[in-house]
């Protein structure tokens, strides 16, 4: 189960995710991001502070979201990462493609 809270301000949008970002929960957030990008959102922040797990499908979703935004001259920011998740994203060199921030 993945709950999504959304705050939109023109081209800026923040999605707060609560739950696991894994293959079985991705459909809703993937569709919502697709709609937002199509509707002109270019600067997307995904708050992961209440998302406690991610699998390879979740990582693929994050990377694909970055690619979609970049095509529209936009950016992706991941915030609220736990220390372990931050380190994991650094291992994957995600921080060289978009901004990632820890909870603190």
């Amino acid at each position: 189960m993945l709950n999504i809270k959304e705050q939109r301000d023109g081209k800026n949008c923040e999605l707060s995710l609560e739950g696991e970002l894994v293959a079985t929960t991705l459909d809703n957030v993937r569709n919502r991001v697709r709609e937002l990008v199509a509707d002109g959102v270019a600067f997307l922040t995904i708050d992961m502070s209440r998302s406690n797990a991610i699998d390879s499908a979740g990582i693929g979703f994050i990377a694909a979201t970055h690619n979609s935004l970049e095509k529209n001259s936009g950016t992706l920011k991941l915030t609220g990462l736990s220390k372990d998740m931050y380190d994991f994203f650094v291992c994957l060199r995600m921080h060289t493609h978009f901004t990632i921030e820890t909870k603190d």
């Binding site: 894994v22 797990a53 991610i54 693929g60 990377a63 694909a64 994991f88 994957l92």
Partner: protein, 374 residues
């Protein structure tokens, strides 16, 4: 779709007149017919002659048509033959009785010949479409199976000089994990594990493409990082949106006593020195096939005879969950297990890791552990 005229229809009806009318009409339309006035012969005739369709009277003396239909549907040789009921009853309960028994259609007597023919043709067409789809599906499965067969890498016993051992457990028939051992030059071997994100059957084609890309581009003078950059450019044309590949790669050059280690989104390669030192080789790299611009770090390590490397997929370190704490914990457990079993021979070391790390836990991902000894 044209109906194949080499079609046989079995008519089961105790009313001789109905049988004769149906036979004449069907033969006129080019169908072959078989007929019986007794319901008790329906099953043996159907089993031995394998008709393409059965027209079955509901109100037969003795056994009812619906009971005969149930027997036909439960017999392996006749279960797929479409059964169309004929009956003078037009009430709903009789119709439901026939559909419940596995009948596909219900034709009320006295029947209109054109209607019978239209219904027979419809069901024959449906059956032929289903057979064609089954054939296509079988062909696809066969292609997948062949692709999977092509992926099977050399067994350790086939190239003993490569000195490797492997454990490979797939979650489903066509898994996303992949390993290969390639002789790249004199005394040079490439040991690769890769994990394609996802588990559906299309993964077999991605892994086949991946293997082909590796084979086409691996060369002694081309470092693994440069092969990965080529793979990264080509793979997006094969992958679905959001799909990527993680790769661990160790190139061992037993002539120069050097190893190159690359890691792109996989758990770190574990190095077990001949002197007993156990550590992870901490190099980072972009995941493959999803970003346009990528960088892969490469560690060069001096090696001695007896040194070992272990390349593992995510499945081995994510036993306790997909959260990052569990993953970090899984890597620590992997190191601890390696320290505990470092004195075992390579095959036993690799084999010992699965029960130690996974135990009785349900596997939620493919697992591959490739062990290499210098």
């Amino acid at each position: 779709m044209d109906i194949d005229n080499n079609v046989t229809i079995l008519i089961v009806d105790d009313d001789l007149m109905s049988v004769m009318i149906l036979e004449n009409m069907l033969k006129h339309e080019g169908f072959k017919t078989l007929s019986t006035l007794s319901g008790s012969f329906a099953l043996p005739i159907a089993e031995s002659k394998q008709p393409d369709l059965i027209l079955l009277d509901l109100n037969l003396p003795g056994e009812r048509g619906s009971d005969i239909c149930r027997k036909l549907k439960s017999a392996p040789l006749t279960s797929e033959i479409p059964v169309l009921f004929l009956s003078a009853d037009s009430n709903v309960s009789s119709k439901i009785e026939c559909f419940d028994a596995g009948g596909l259609d219900y034709i009320t007597k006295p029947f209109e010949l054109r209607e019978v023919l239209a219904r027979v043709n419809t069901h024959l067409r449906l059956q032929q479409t289903q057979k064609a789809l089954t054939k296509v599906l079988s062909s696809k499965i066969n292609e997948i199976s062949q692709a999977q067969q092509a992926l099977l890498p050399s067994k350790p016993s086939e190239i003993p000089e490569a000195k490797f051992a492997v454990v490979y457990q797939q979650l489903s028939g066509a898994g996303g994990d992949f390993y290969d051992v390639v002789k790249t030059g004199n005394g040079i071997y490439d040991y690769i594990t890769a994990d394609v994100c996802g588990h559906d059957h299309s993964i077999a084609f991605v892994t086949a493409a991946l293997k082909t890309l590796f084979i086409q581009n691996i060369a002694p003078q081309t470092e693994p990082v440069n092969v990965l950059k080529i793979v990264n450019k080509v793979l997006p044309s094969v992958l679905k949106n959001g799909q990527f590949v993680g790769v661990s790669w160790v190139r061992v050059n037993r002539m120069t006593k050097k190893a190159l280690v690359v890691n792109a989104g996989q758990p770190p390669v574990v190095y077990i020195g001949h002197d007993g030192e156990v550590k992870t080789v901490d190099v980072t790299g972009d995941i493959v096939g999803i970003f346009e611009n990528v960088i892969f770090e490469q560690a060069e390590i001096d090696i001695e005879s007896g040194d070992r490397f272990l390349l593992c997929s995510d499945g081995i370190v994510e036993v306790n969950g997909k959260n990052s704490e569990a993953r970090a914990d899984g890597i620590k457990k992997l190191l601890t297990a390696c320290i505990k079993n470092k004195d075992k021979d390579l095959n036993k070391l690799v084999q010992s890791l699965i029960p130690l790390l996974i135990g009785n836990a349900e596997i939620s991902d493919d697992v591959v552990i490739l062990g290499v000894e210098v």
